[in-house]
Subunit: 334 residues, 2 copies
DNA sequence: CTGAAAGCGCTTACAG
DNA sequence: CTGAAAGCGCTTACAG
C-alpha cells in the first residue's frame, strides 16, 4: 500500500487527540456528538482505514480464527468453513482457512504459522486420527476446537455430527424398505467418525434382526478410489449383495462410477444408502436414501465453541457437541 | 494465548540485545555462529514464537495475501485457491480465503476488511461482471489481481484460462466425432469467460461448416438449476438436439440430473461436451469430451502476478495471462 | 559482529 | 468528555 492516513492524520484534521479518534473508531459512548461528527468527517475526507495490525498488537487480539482443513477442494469441509465464517462475521471476526493437505506434519506447521500470526484460536478438521501434535499449542494457551471428528491423545471441544445415530437411522429405513442383506463400505475404523458410522450400521442390523455378515463389511479410506475398488470387489463375490450402505460421499462417488461402467443388466436393482448431500448428489444414480449432516451448523457450533474459549467463558472442558442428522429420501427410486 | 515469551526474554536469556535476536530470527548473515547458537538455544528453551503482528507493524508487510472467492463450496474456485496457497507458501506468504457469497457488496466489504488486516495484496475471483467497486482500493495502492474472469470498469493483472481456445477445441473435436447439430448451454454472455466460451463454440461451428441455429443456443447463470432448466427446455422442442456443449460444470450437473430423470429411451444417444473435470466428473454419464482447465496453475499464475506487484517489479500494466486448456476424452462412450 | 534507541499505529488507564 | 503519554513486540539505520 502507499502512504495511508493514520489516526494521527485524522486527529490533526479534526483537531482532537488520537485518543479521541480511537474512541470514535471503537464506538466509545463517551464522545460527544459534535466531536464524533468532526472525527467522522475527517475520516471520510482522508479515506482513513484503520490499521488492524497496530490494533492487534496493542489489544493482543487479532480477531482472527484459523481454520485448518485437510483439503480445500472438498464441499463438506468448505461447508463447515462457510458456517464458521458466517457465524464469526457477526462478531467482527475473520477467518484464515488453510489446507493441511491431509498431512499431519503440515497440520503442525500450519498451527505454528497461525500462532505467529497471533490468531485468537484455531478450529481444526483433523487430517488423521492423531492429535498429540496439537497438544503443545493448546498447552501454550491457544484455544483449539475440533470439527467433524475426534482424535487420539488430544482432548478439546468438538463439534461433531451424530454419526452413530445417522447411520443407524438410514440403515433402519433401508431395512424397512425391504433391504435385508446390506453391505457396508466405509472408512478406516480407527477414525472416530468412520467407526461411529460402522457401529450405527451394526446397531440397525441387530435391531432389524439381521445377522451380520463380516464378508460384506469393507473398510477403505474415505476416498473415491477405495469406494470404487471395494464396490468392484463386493460385486465380484460369488453371491454379491445388491444393497449397500456407503458411509462417505467420496467413496459413494467411486462406487457409483464403477457401477456406471457396468453393463445395464449387471447393475440393475442395486440400491445405495449414503452419507451427505452435495450439489452433485443428484448424479448418484443408485442412491435411494441418505443421511444429511447439518454442515453449516457444524461450523456454527465450532465457531461458538472457539469463541467461548477465547472469551474465557467458564464452562467444563471439553465440550463435545453432537448435531443430529436428517434422513433424506432421494428422487431415484428406479 | 497465555503470556508468551518475547524477543526480550530471549535476548536476556542469551545475554544479547534484542537486535541480535531479531537478526538470527531473520537469518541475517552477520551473526557469528556462537552467538547464533546461544540465541537458538534460548529460543528453544523458552519455546519462543515470533509475533508476526509486531513484525508486520514495523516492516509494513503482513506477508498475507487475501483471496476473495464467490463461494467456498466450489471445487473449481478452491482449486485455484489451492494453487495460490501452494505457490505463496514457498515465499513464506500466507493466505486469507474469504467468500463473497456471490455478492458484489460483500466483495467490497471484504476488500475493506482485508485492507484493515493490512494484507499485502488481494486476488479476487469476481462475483459479478462489475469491477468499479475495486477501483478505490487499487487507487489507494493495494495490489489487486483477478482470476478466472475479467470485469467491466476495472483494469488489473489477471490469470485466465484460454476459454475461447478451449471451447473451440472441444467443439471441433465433437464435430470430428460426428456431431453436427450441437446445442449450446452456457452462462450469461456479459460474463467474460461465458462470452469467450460461446465465441469459441461459434468459431468451431463456422470452421466446421456448420450453420448456427440460434434457437438451440441458450444462456443461463452457471448454476445447476439453470442447466437443468435449459436442458429440459431444449429437449422439449419439436426437433430436439442430441449433442450439447455445456460450458460450465454446474450447468452440466444440472443438465445431467435432468437426463437421469428421463426414461432410458428418451435419453439414449445424448452426448455432451463439457468444461472442467472434478472428482465427481465420472458421474457425468453423458459426457464424452471435456475441456480441462489448469486450475492449480491458474492459482500459481495469480500468485506470481500479485507477488510481482507487491514486489513493485517493473513491468507493463496490466499483465493478462492466458493458460491453455487440455482436451479430455472421457470414459463414457456409451 | 553487536548494541542502544527510535518508531511502526494503535489503545487505554490515568488525570483533569 | 477529552488529552498526554506509555507501551504492545518487533526491526533497522546508525554507531562503534
Amino acid at each position: 500500500m502507499g502512504k495511508t492516513a493514520t489516526i494521527r492524520d485524522v486527529a490533526q484534521r479534526a483537531s482532537v487527540s488520537t485518543a479521541t479518534v480511537s474512541r470514535v473508531l471503537n464506538d466509545d459512548a463517551h464522545v460527544v456528538e459534535a466531536t464524533r461528527q468532526r472525527v467522522m468527517d475527517a475520516i471520510a475526507d482522508l479515506r482513513y482505514s484503520r490499521n488492524d495490525v497496530a490494533r492487534s498488537l496493542k489489544t493482543r487480539s487479532s480477531r482472527i480464527v484459523g481454520i485448518v482443513s485437510p483439503e480445500l477442494t472438498n464441499d463438506f469441509f468448505m461447508g463447515i468453513a462457510n458456517g464458521i465464517e458466517a457465524a464469526l462475521k457477526k462478531l467482527k471476526y475473520s477467518v484464515i482457512i488453510c489446507s493441511s493437505n491431509e498431512s499431519r506434519d503440515e497440520e503442525k506447521r500450519l498451527l505454528k504459522v497461525l500462532v505467529e500470526k497471533a490468531v485468537d484460536g484455531v478450529i481444526v478438521i483433523p487430517a488423521s486420527d492423531k492429535g498429540s501434535h496439537l497438544k503443545p499449542f493448546q498447552d501454550a494457551g491457544m484455544p483449539i476446537v475440533l470439527a467433524d471428528r475426534l482424535v487420539e491423545d488430544f482432548e478439546a471441544d468438538a463439534a461433531l455430527s451424530d454419526n452413530f445415530g445417522g447411520a443407524r437411522e438410514v440403515v433402519a429405513a433401508f431395512i424397512r424398505r425391504g433391504a435385508r442383506r446390506i453391505a457396508f463400505i466405509g472408512g478406516a475404523s480407527r477414525l472416530s467418525n468412520a467407526r461411529e458410522r460402522f457401529e450405527g450400521y451394526r446397531a440397525a442390523l441387530a435391531e432389524g434382526g439381521i445377522e451380520e455378515e463380516p464378508g460384506i463389511e469393507r473398510f477403505g479410506d474415505f476416498h473415491m478410489e477405495s469406494g470404487r475398488a471395494l464396490m468392484k470387489d463386493l460385486l465380484g463375490r460369488e453371491n454379491p449383495p445388491r444393497a449397500f450402505f456407503i458411509a462417505n460421499l467420496y467413496m459413494h462417488i467411486g462406487a457409483t462410477s464403477f457401477l456406471l461402467s457396468l453393463p445395464e443388466a449387471e447393475r440393475r436393482g442395486i440400491r445405495i444408502a449414503g452419507f451427505d448431500s452435495m450439489a452433485y448428489s443428484p448424479l448418484l444414480g443408485f442412491c435411494t436414501l441418505a443421511v444429511e449432516q447439518r454442515i453449516a451448523e457444524l461450523g456454527g457450533e465450532a465457531a461458538r465453541l472457539i469463541m467461548d474459549r477465547i472469551g474465557k467463558r467458564d464452562k467444563p472442558f471439553p465440550e463435545i457437541v453432537r448435531l443430529p442428522t436428517r434422513l433424506v429420501v432421494t428422487e431415484n427410486e428406479r
